[in-house]
Amino acid sequence: MPIVSASKPHRLPSSIVQDDEPVLVAAAKSGDRSAFEELVRRYEAKIFRLTQNITQNREDAEDAMQDAFLKAYSHLQGFQGDSRFYTWLVRIAANEALMRLRKRRPGQMSLDEPIQGDTDLMPRELEDWGPNPEQKFAQTEIGNVLNEFIERLEPENRIVLMLRDVEELSTEETAKVLGISISAVKSRLLRARLRLRERLSRFFRQGVPN
């Protein structure tokens, strides 16, 4: 199932959080259900992408998303506003998704396990992309490449990449959510980013441009 579709004008999570988010959160806290429903509608696709990318299992992803929103509603009074509501929600959803992933693969995923060696880190694809190579390809095609890349990435590296680069959690926040050290976050992120570059490089070299 496609989780991302293509590349659109640059929109990071921080910039898509609309100005009225604090107003909606305040209204939801005082019991306005429609305000909370609006927050759900706003973020449901993003939260589902996150839970799907972590669990790689549709049923788990849906359950994790549902429970994340339910938990967010139940604990809304505890949200102090010291981070964005969306970031708070991402933390809850990531925990729900991780719980399910660990249940499904007990003992198979050790996020804090040190990475052995760095010989496979050295880049192999060394070809100039030219300016804005992504614009030469159909958006759906790039979306498919990204989905396939995320799916194949080792869970440990995939989750760190999603939380750091897509959801824009800080290194510290990511370490906290995953219960791993800052250096483990950094080494997994480096690995994931370099692999992503290799994959896109191969695609730009072999793909058929528009």
């Binding site: 496609p2 989780i3 991302v4 579709s5 293509a6 590349s7 659109k8 004008p9 640059h10 929109r11 990071l12 939801a28 806290k29 019991g31 259900r33 909370f36 429903e37 759900v40 449901e44 696709a45 993003k46 589902f48 992408r49 849906e62 998303m65 549902q66 929103f69 339910l70 509603y73 139940s74 604990h75 809304l76 009074q77 760095d118 880190l121 050295m122 880049p123 060394l126 100039d128 992309w129 190579p133 992504e134 790039i142 979306g143 990204l146 990449l161 680069d165 897509v166 290194t171 950094k186 992120l189 480096l190 980013r193 370099l194 992503l196 570059r197 896109l200 490089s201």
Partner: protein, 79 residues
């Protein structure tokens, strides 16, 4: 700093998490090494492409199940 050293610190450099002295060393290497400069630019671009990818809308049945589950809960005031 050699090419391997640059690759190992690339991510920290992109995130601005390098010690200034190490960052300076890395930049000195980049100014003289075309391959590392290309890898640096492409890694940054790759992150941008990943961030720009929009999530697809929820399937109607997934959305319906979510909102049905919420409706039951929203009957109660948040604690």
């Amino acid at each position: 700093m050699n090419c391997k050293g640059v690759i190992l610190e690339l991510s920290n450099y992109i995130d601005g998490e390098l010690d200034p002295a190490v960052a300076l060393e890395l930049e000195r290497h980049l100014s003289a090494c075309e391959d590392c400069t290309m890898i640096f630019d492409q890694t940054k671009k790759s992150i941008e492409i990943l961030c720009d990818a929009e999530p697809v809308s929820l399937a109607a049945e997934v959305q319906a199940r979510l909102h049905q589950a919420l409706r039951g809960k929203l009957g109660r005031t948040p604690s």
